[in-house]
């Protein structure tokens, strides 16, 4: 079920009605778990068992850790089990493809397994719970028992607003929030702001740009003008931001409607003035997860410069592979990892605060770097990427399509304005509500065709 579907509107209205109904008050958490499982099963009922398996293993491991029964062993088993599920179900095609002719019977069997929606997210939640429990950051549910702990674990992992595309919520942040919620406690400003913003970004910007960016395909790219190819890439850069921040924003708004707080996942990433700054602003929940659970355990920046560069590159390459089971994602991660390492080696990670002109140049440079990297996201075949770049360099004599450029600019302008005008500049709550009203008006007047969210594939 996707957020921009009629089925979801009906689903959400039913969930909220029952959730806050006085008669169902005692069963709020159970109801939310049930609703989340239904939400997941809507798309892939057969794979619900895998989600439940991951949640059950996570619950058993974290319960053992919290109870103090062989905590190190239990934590290790919990992490390994979740990583194994992720590796087996997500990277089966990559392994089979890489084996090529030597694929054999096992390889062919692997190719038959479908990719479960949201597997990257729910397995990372599982890892977070086990690790946070081991680190003593997760409080025990009161009264502490296997049933209650299992229920709370299920809610943390399957909570439908963030189940299929994040944001990735750390267990230490989510578990203490689990409890009885009252209708009067809802922060309606948060609900309206994030929901309207999210839907605007998704259905007005991303869905409309999606019609244009289908032209990022080769060999068709060979007949497009250089300017068109550049504009299409810029369009894709805007689209992927609007699509993913749109999803995260709707998730934050809906979670707030149910009384839960999810982390802000994007902070105007395209005004980052260094690659390190970009990763503090883009998919913040993943960046902080990778930093806390991978980069720091690898030694972070505490073991000298060379080890720091290696850690950055390894973490980013793995982060790239987390996004998708194709080597192009790993190369995309390497692109960023090497960028981060070079930037750090040159002492340029700290940005250029206080020097506006230099900062503007750096913002443009980082945007160009990031936008070029998205090509690896859009075209998983390296041959296509090279063809695209070659056409971009060679087709300067072909006349560009003014119409296409104008459409991309028209949809990019609101996104760049959003980056350049921080929300607090709108000042009063009244002005913010006026802006949300205008965005809602745009949703009514200019929605594109409904498309699935890009990050669903991850």
């Amino acid at each position: 079920m996707i957020f921009n579907s009629f089925a979801f509107v009906v689903f959400l209205a039913t969930v909220v009605f029952v959730y806050y109904h006085p008669a169902a008050r005692r069963w709020q958490i159970e109801w939310l778990v049930l609703a989340s499982l239904f939400f997941y099963a809507w798309e892939q009922p057969a794979l619900l068992s895998l989600l439940l398996l991951s949640a059950t293993i996570t619950s058993a491991a974290s319960y053992a850790v919290l109870k103090g029964a062989e905590p190190r062993l239990a934590a290790t088993l919990g992490v390994v089990a979740n990583l194994s599920i992720l590796a087996f179900f997500k990277y089966n095609h990559l392994v089979a493809d890489s084996l090529g002719a030597q694929i054999g019977g096992v390889g062919r069997m692997l190719l038959l397994l479908p990719l479960p929606i949201g597997i990257s997210f729910f397995t990372f939640h599982g890892i977070s719970l086990v690790v946070d429990a081991w680190r003593g950051k997760v409080p025990k549910a009161e009264p502490f028992g296997p049933g209650r702990h299992y229920r709370n674990t299920l809610l943390y992992i399957v909570f439908f607003p963030q189940l299929v595309a994040g944001p990735i919520v750390k267990a230490a942040d989510f578990m203490p929030q689990i409890g009885w919620k009252k209708l009067d406690d809802i922060d309606w400003r948060v609900v309206f702001h994030y929901t309207v913003l999210g839907y605007f970004l998704k259905v007005v910007i991303a869905d409309n740009l999606a019609q244009q960016t289908t032209f990022i395909a080769c060999p068709a790219c060979q007949s497009l003008a250089s300017i068109d190819l550049v504009m299409l890439l810029v369009g894709y850069s805007v689209q992927i931001f609007a699509d993913f921040w749109g999803y995260s924003s709707i998730a934050i708004g809906i979670a707030a409607l149910l009384g839960y707080r999810l982390p802000i996942n994007f902070n105007r990433p395209y005004i980052a003035d260094s690659i390190a700054d970009f990763w503090r602003r883009w998919h913040i929940s993943l960046s902080s997860f990778l930093r806390e659970y991978l980069y720091i355990p690898l030694g972070g920046n505490r073991r000298g410069p060379v080890r720091t560069y290696v850690n950055l590159i390894v973490v980013m390459a793995l982060g790239g592979l987390w996004h998708g089971a194709a080597w192009s994602y790993a190369v995309w991660g390497l692109w960023h990892g090497v960028g981060l390492a070079v930037e750090r080696a040159c002492g340029a990670s700290e940005g250029a605060a206080g020097r506006p002109l230099l900062r503007a140049f750096r913002i443009a440079g980082v945007f160009a770097f990031v936008t070029l990297g998205w090509l690896l996201f859009k075209l998983p075949d390296f041959g296509d990427v090279i063809q695209y770049l070659a056409a971009m360099a060679a087709n300067t004599d072909i006349r560009p399509s003014l119409l296409r450029c104008l459409v991309i600019v028209a949809y990019a302008v609101p996104v760049f304005a959003y980056h350049l005008l921080p929300s607090r500049r709108f000042g009063t709550v009244e002005r913010q509500m006026a802006m949300e009203g205008l965005l809602l008006g745009a949703i009514i007047l200019n929605s594109g065709s409904s498309n699935a969210f890009i990050y669903f594939q991850f």
Binding site: Q211, V407, G441
Partner: protein
């Protein structure tokens, strides 16, 4: 709850105000939409026009992007062009059946009969804003989306935009069309022609022709005149395996139907299949003349 009421009232109030102002401006200005951001938006706006069934068109053309090349104002006012980019005639026929339109004559393009029917276009064009509301509020229609307005405004400003024939003076406009050839790139034409020479998959063609035959029979039962239309394409493409197979299959399945193939003395295509702008206008004039005869 007080916070909910004040927030929702303010946000909805601004949204309603924005939509009302926009819809009023559209109602007063009645802008002419000439450009759409992409093929899909164009298709949806066309499908919406059929579903809203404004006016009573005497003739409806159903077909593909070949027919899209013909501008509306180069066809008589009571004609409706239901050609869709990337689709075939069966999609237009399905939409016609779903709409309340009952034209006297339906002109069915045969060149792309092998393209499968799109069964979701009508559903997509029908939502999410209810059609009755769109019928009465022009500003809520797909056709009048702000992006279309922006692009059409830009198109009107561009110098060299093709002039539109004055209303009711189509014949004079046809006679006044310049006799010069359309500028085309021979390299592009040669490359695209190679792509057009592949023969259609026989099973797929048979299925599509059967669907077409069934739709044509239903129209005939309602008393609608059905005319088969073969748009002129590059001679190499016309003689190629795809067009030949389609032509033979349609002729065999529907032997008694009138077949028109408007061919002006000179025409150019941009890619072997799609008519260049000036040629498209000439062909439109020729089609209108043939069907009026």
């Amino acid at each position: 709850m007080r916070s909910f009421i004040s927030s929702s009232r303010a946000v909805l109030g601004w949204a309603v105000a924005a939509v009302t102002i926009y819809a009023t401006a559209i109602e007063i200005g009645r802008p002419r939409i000439m450009l759409h951001p992409d093929q899909h938006s164009y298709n949806l706006a066309r499908a919406e026009r059929a579903l809203l069934a404004e006016g009573t068109p005497s003739t409806v053309i159903v077909g593909s992007s070949l027919g899209v090349r013909v501008p509306d104002d180069w066809l008589p006012r009571d004609w409706l062009n239901l050609s869709f980019g990337g689709k075939g005639a069966t999609t237009g026929l399905a939409l016609l059946e779903a709409s309340p339109l009952r034209p006297r004559r339906v002109v069915v393009e045969v060149n792309t009969v092998d393209v499968p029917m799109d069964k979701v276009l009508a559903a997509e064009a029908s939502g999410p804003i209810p059609l009755p509301l769109r019928r009465s509020v022009r500003g809520l229609r797909i056709e009048y989306r702000p992006i279309n307005l922006l692009l059409s405004g830009f198109g009107a400003l561009r110098s060299g935009a093709a002039p539109s024939p004055r209303s009711g003076n189509l014949q004079a406009a046809c006679e006044a069309l310049p006799r010069s050839a359309d500028p085309t790139s021979q390299e592009v034409v040669a490359r695209e022609i190679q792509r057009q020479l592949e023969a259609p998959v026989p099973a797929g063609l048979d299925r599509s022709v059967s669907e077409l035959q069934a739709a044509v029979s239903r129209l005939a039962m309602q008393g609608t005149e059905v005319v088969l239309l073969e748009w002129p394409v590059d001679p190499q493409v016309a003689a190629g395996p795809r067009q030949t197979a389609i032509r033979n299959a349609v002729r065999e399945a529907m032997p008694g139907l009138r077949w028109v193939s408007p061919k002006p003395n000179e025409f150019q295509t941009e890619d072997g299949l799609h008519l260049a702008p000036l040629s498209a206008r000439r062909v439109a004039c020729e089609l209108v003349r043939e069907l009026s005869a």
